[in-house]
Each structure stands twice: as structure tokens, then as C-alpha cells.
Assembly symmetry: C2
Homo-oligomer: 80 residues x 2
């Protein structure tokens, strides 16, 4: 079973690296780039056979390690 976790910064949390990308694209002459956002994606190959159990486990992984709930939000998708 495969799980995919998408982690992004909460609205209002500054992303200096995204801002640097935005400025660098402009300095390289790329026009029309209005905003840049970065996300982290973590893909997990799981031995779980049960989808609900897998989702619950990945939720716990996010809460304990993969995401920082203070500044990040995450979404989980499971491919059986």
C-alpha cells in the first residue's frame, strides 16, 4: 500500500526559500511569476493490508514526526 503526505506551510507563515526562488526567477529574466509556494511530499510504501489502519498510522506519523503542526498543515492520500 502507498501513502502520500503533502505538507505545506500554514497561511501567513513566511517561506524565505520560496521568496528567494521568486526573486531568482525574476533576476534570471522570467516574467509573469506572481507567487511561488513550496510543498514537501513524502511517499511511504507500507506493508499494511488494511486501508483504515494505514491511514490512522500515517496520521500518527505526521503528528509525531513528518509535519510540524504549529507551522504546517498536511494531507494524506492512500493508494491501496
Amino acid at each position: 500500500m502507498k501513502a502520500r503526505v503533502e505538507i505545506s506551510l500554514r497561511p501567513g507563515v513566511l517561506d524565505p526559500e520560496a521568496q528567494t526562488i521568486e526573486r531568482s526567477l525574476a533576476s534570471l529574466g522570467f516574467e509573469g511569476v506572481e507567487h511561488v509556494r513550496r510543498l514537501k511530499v513524502i511517499e511511504l510504501d507500507l506493508a499494511h493490508q488494511d486501508r483504515a489502519a494505514a491511514e490512522k498510522a500515517v496520521e500518527a506519523m505526521c503528528e509525531r514526526l513528518l509535519a510540524n503542526p504549529v507551522i504546517e498543515t498536511y494531507s494524506i492520500s492512500i493508494d491501496a
Copy 2:
């Protein structure tokens, strides 16, 4: 127009951070995690009106800045 660039390491390129995540999950007592992969996603809000022009511009952005073609591959999706 929104563009989404997914950047991942080429097969065979080691990802120490993903390996650290894998070990940390095991040490936290999470079982059944067979493999961990990390991807970077960059979302761009573009002023471009033409889809083909936007795709071409994002391709050039990937080649020049967003991705390292030696160790990374990327895929681009455009939402008009």
C-alpha cells in the same frame, strides 16, 4: 494560471534525509514502513494567458533554477 512542478531524485540517487525519516519512524515504534521517498513540489501563480507559453516558461525555469537535472527529474502540470 497555476503551474505545479514535482521534483524527485533520479532512481539510484541516495536520499539521506528520507533514510533518516525511515529510521526515525521505526525508532518511534511505527511498523510496516518499507520505504520512504521525498519529493519537492513548487507551485507557481503565473500571469501568462497562454497555456503552451506558460508550460514552455516553466520548463525553462526548471532547467535553469528549480531542478538539478544531474540528480533530479521533474514533471510539470498546468491548471488554466
